[in-house]
Amino acid sequence: MKLARFTRAGLAVFAALVVLFLLGPLLVIVLFAFDKSNVQSLPIRHWTTHWFAVAFNDPAVRSALWLSVKAGLAATLIALVLGTLVAFGIHRFRFFGRDTISLMLVLPIALPGIVTGLALQSAFNLTHIDLSIYTIIVGHATFCMVVVFNNVVARLRRTSTSLIEASADLGARPLQTFRLVTLPMLSTAIIAGALLAFALSFDEVIVTTFTAGAQNTLPLWIFGAILRGQELPEVNAVVVFVLVLTVVPIAYAARISSGERTFGSGESK
């Protein structure tokens, strides 16, 4: 397709503006977190890390953080096992209903998050299960599983089965083959999936609203504090903390699975 130089330049400027639009707001809140003033505005006159200290010493923030970490780790672990297994099963075996199943697996992501949350709450209500950290974990594991599945299945499609057959021909038992051949081939995809799953869980607020009851995860604490309009500088510090904690695993996941488009397979909040 022939494009005039003028068109190319116009598109380049447009692309730069889009990137500014995408990243500018994030830059604003990162800067604001270091603003000494109670009411944040630009330009920032006095810089401080005071609000991070305030947030870290707030017992409500601490207990919310602890709950988020525990729930995130447990959900990631479950999602890791189930997501890897289902990726294997779908990829290696041909059976009736296979396409339906792989379509269905994406439902927790394709349907609005509020539907997943409310559906879980209805189920817990009907079965008289009280909302606790376990109900949070169950909800998170369900959508985190999809992320791990997407990552592992993307890697499986790129690896050939001949290595596994060779391993069996040379006398390795299935579990040995799995441990010594298959797992090393998949390890970075699995780790990337787990990191993404944890980041997703750590930041999730819509499903959690319906499965947490009276407990506060860190995102729920943030949401409540913004809604009340109180302690906003402290909220800002916590928000930046969550931002960093979600971005770092993602950046790392992107690096170890570089060259693969594991991210394009979709994700939703």
Partner: protein, 296 residues
């Protein structure tokens, strides 16, 4: 060879000969989880939508009734909410598609290989970065003493009071879901071989003709995939309407949130949730009718 060793070997051989058994062993734990937790919950949601709440005690009455659905379809306030949500979802989807198309085209077909990687990283960052952080940023930008009014007064421009309006919602929703539109459209552009575009040009097609007749049919599945995300995410969000929107920003999402969390009326919330599932189903059906899935 010990007995144990032999049993293990036999077991391995048995599994190797019966691939269906291996498949069943591997697939049953995740599929059971999915069935018991997710699909059963959706069924529970449907059942709950036909219950009601005792107005005096606030307890759920486990008796079959159409009351929730008839309330949604007879009271005009819910019609307005549903219409407002769908219009917003359509607007956001169109806005994101219009921004994502030229942007994705640029990174896929014009940018150099190295800058392409950088652009992609810059798109993935907000895609995965904390959702709350991104909403909170916009509160700081749009509020009455925020960055935008500040900037406007510095530049001597008229001050736009966007805080707590539906325009603010439109901007923030478009911002939040933009990466979800860019990624699939970029993927679609990437799958178009350059030679195809060159062939079209060699055969005498102009830029616009090539774009419409060669590129668009191949990009359409990407747009549809992205629009499913933008549509579904707008339907299911209650955080943005509550934090960014104003008094006239009742959307399906926060109507559900209000009934379930503040009002204690889980059955009514469940009925509303089914309305949003129905809207998604209609949307997917229309997309299919339009032939959007043919190329997949």
């Amino acid at each position: 060879m010990s007995v144990r060793e032999r049993t293990r070997q036999r077991l391995g051989a048995a599994l190797w000969r019966r691939p269906w058994l291996r498949g069943a062993l591997i697939l049953s734990p995740p599929l059971m989880w999915f069935l018991v937790v997710y699909l059963a919950s959706l069924v529970a949601l449907l059942i709950t939508a036909f219950f009601s709440v005792n107005e005096l005690t606030g307890n759920i009455v486990y008796q079959w009734t159409w009351a929730n659905f008839s309330q949604i379809f007879t009271q005009s306030v819910y019609g307005v909410i549903i219409l407002r949500t769908v219009i917003m979802a359509v607007l956001v989807t169109i806005t994101d598609a219009l921004i994502a198309l030229p942007f994705a085209f640029f990174i896929a077909k014009i940018a150099s290989r190295r800058s392409r990687q950088a652009f992609l990283a810059l798109v993935f960052l907000p895609l995965w970065a904390s959702y709350l952080a991104r909403v909170y940023a916009w509160i700081n930008i749009l509020s009455n003493h925020g960055v935008l009014p500040n900037l406007e007064s510095h530049l001597g421009l008229p001050i736009t009071n966007l805080a707590y309006t539906n325009v603010a919602m439109w901007i923030v929703f478009s911002y939040l879901w933009l990466p979800f539109m860019i990624v699939p459209i970029y993927g679609a552009f990437e799958r178009v071989p350059d030679s195809l575009l060159e062939a079209s040009a060699d055969l005498g097609a102009g830029t616009w003709f090539t774009f419409r007749q060669v590129l668009m049919p191949m990009i359409l599945p990407g747009i549809v995939a992205g629009s499913i995300f933008t549509f579904s995410l707008t339907l299911g969000d209650f955080i943005t309407p509550l934090l960014i929107g104003g008094s006239s920003s009742n959307f399906i999402g926060n109507a559900i949130y209000d009934s379930a969390i503040n009002g204690g009326d889980l059955p009514f919330a469940a009925a509303l949730a089914f309305v949003s599932i129905a809207i998604m189903a209609i949307y997917l059906f229309l997309a299919r009718l339009a032939g959007a899935f043919d190329a997949i």
